[in-house]
Structures are given as C-alpha cells and as structure tokens.
C-alpha cells in the first residue's frame, strides 16, 4: 500500500451507492406481484454463486484466508512472551549467561532457580538453571533485566507436553550448538511483528 493511498482517509464515502428499493407496495395486488417478482428473481442463487466463486478462488487461485494451523503458523509478534530461549554467543558458541542471578532475583513468581560456581579458570559458570513453568506467569521481567540478552522469550507457544520437565532445563532452552547459525536475535521490546506491513489496513473514517 503506497503512502498516497494510505493518506486518503475518506474511504467509505466514494464507495457508497444508494440502493434503489422502489416504493413499498400498498395494495394487496402490489404485494402479490412483489412476492412473485422476488420468487423468480433468484437472488438466493446469486448468494450461492458468490460463495462458489469464493470457494473456487480459495481452492485454485490460492486466495485462502485460513491457515492450516499445525502445518502452517502465522508469524507471532516479537513482543510475544512464550517459553524462554537461552541464547549463545555467535562467535564462540558459549552460552551468554554470566550467572549474575538478576533474573532469579526479579522473578516475581519465584520460578527461576539457578546455581553457579567458579570453574577451573575462575570464571563463573552456570551449574544449574531451571524455570518452573508451572509457576511462571510469563511476565517477561527476566528477559528485560538480563544484561547480556542471554534469556529472551522465544516463539514456542505450544506449551502442551506430556512431561513438564521437558522444557524447563537450561539445556532444553539453550540454542542447540549445531543450530547456532539459525539463532534468532531478540528484536527488543516494542519491535513490530514481521508481517506488520500486511496487517496495516485503512481506517474507514468518513469525517
């Protein structure tokens, strides 16, 4: 949609056509002729035709408005707060978490548990990190407070699982090392969704 079209706010006025309803019948004979006329006009079949056209367009011209959900997904907004992701440094492949413990402190539902220790090079390493997703309210404070952008909210919103332990361990949330090149950088708070351009519609204002 070009800017010129977008600036034209008067949608609605120029597309209105007044319906010619004719005059309403007064005598019984006029009412009868109106019913007979409507009987043989076949307006109901026009409605069927519209639906048939829409169906053929959807099936054969790819103008489908629905999404086959488990196989296709709509892009979600980067602001969406789904299951957390633990990101890695792109250069070295190490996890970004420095074990500062801010996320554990700020977590208002006390669902983050972490343990750190000094490794042999006297660097802090995360020995244990779990998020109890039974308690997590997905407020996003942990991601907001993280100084290294190590913990972010990912796009995994299908939370049904057979075992709740499945996605709460550090290793489960960490980007797999072989998929490091596919790691998505967090866009930041306030980022627009990837299909934001398509979602823009003219507001039908008629003043």
């Amino acid at each position: 949609m070009s800017l010129e079209q977008f600036k034209n706010r008067n949608v609605g006025i120029q597309n209105y056509t007044t319906l010619d309803l004719g005059k309403s019948p007064e005598t019984g004979m006029e009412q009868f002729t109106q019913v007979v006329k409507r009987t043989f006009k076949g307006d109901l079949f026009a409605g069927l035709g519209v639906i048939m056209k829409a169906m053929l367009k959807a099936l054969f011209k790819g103008d489908m408005h629905t999404v086959k959900y488990p196989f296709e997904k709509l892009p979600i907004s980067p602001r969406y707060r789904a299951i957390h992701d633990m990101l890695r440094l792109l250069e070295s492949g190490n996890y970004r978490c420095i074990g500062c413990g801010l996320c554990e402190k700020i977590c208002i539902s006390n669902c983050i548990t972490m343990d750190t220790r000094y490794d042999e090079e006297q660097r802090k390493e995360v020995s244990e990190y779990t998020i109890n997703f039974g308690r997590c309210i997905f407020c996003g404070y942990c991601a907001e407070v993280c100084p290294e952008l190590a913990i972010v909210h990912g796009g995994r919103y299908e939370n049904a699982a057979e075992q709740r332990a499945g996605f709460s361990l550090f290793e489960d949330m960490l980007t797999p090392i072989d998929k490091l090149n596919l790691q998505q950088e967090y866009d930041g708070f306030g980022a627009v969704s990837p299909n934001a351009d398509e979602n823009i519609k003219q507001t039908p204002l008629a003043y």
């Binding site: 009987t39 109901l44 409605g47 639906i51 169906m55």
Partner: protein, 108 residues
C-alpha cells in the same frame, strides 16, 4: 434454531472434545443419510444395469452433501421471518404448481 455461524452456537458451546464431537458426528451422519435418501428418491437412485452405477450414485450423494455445505456457507443464518417467507410464499406455491402440472401430465 441453530446458529452455527455465531460464536455462541447454542448448546454446542457447552461441550468440548468428544462430547462435542458426538453431536457433530450425529449431525453429519444425519446429513449423509439424507443425501443418500434424496439421491435415491429424487435423482433416480442406483442403476444396477449400468457399469458405472456405483460411481453415479456416489456423485449424486456427493452433490446433495455438497449442496448442504454450500447453502450453509452462503446463508449462515437465515432470519426466521425470511425463512418463513421463502417456505410459505415461494416454495409452497411452487410445489402446488408442480402438483397441478403433474396432474395435468397424468390426465393427458
């Protein structure tokens, strides 16, 4: 009156899972049965002598089934007064005319 196109479609909102599924299995079984009966009664039914009799009755049944889905998609919620208008003032006179024409054909 069933309001399928609306968010609250009557009792269907009060059920989920398989209980909801049972209602719809029932409805669709009903639709399939009606399609078969309509194909037999109105469209000539099954021709055992023809090679492709099985195929044609399948197509007839499919036509009636599709017709129901088509009508439901085209007019999701016909207002009761419009339905009354259609049935009493349009379909009923047409059916009477149909009876008259059939009687004339039999007479002659």
């Amino acid at each position: 009156m069933e309001h399928e196109a609306e968010v609250v479609s009557g009792y269907a909102t009060e059920y989920s899972g398989m209980r909801w599924g049972m209602f719809f299995i029932g409805e669709y079984a009903n639709m399939i049965t009606i399609s078969i009966i309509a194909a037999i009664v109105f469209l000539g039914g099954y021709d055992a002598a023809s090679t492709f009799g099985w195929l044609f009755i399948m197509l007839k049944i499919a036509f009636f089934f599709f017709l129901m889905l088509w009508v439901r998609a085209a007019w999701p919620h016909v207002r009761p007064d419009q339905l009354m208008w259609l049935c009493w003032k349009v379909l009923m006179p047409l059916a009477l005319v149909n009876i008259l024409i059939t009687a004339l054909v039999i007479l002659l």
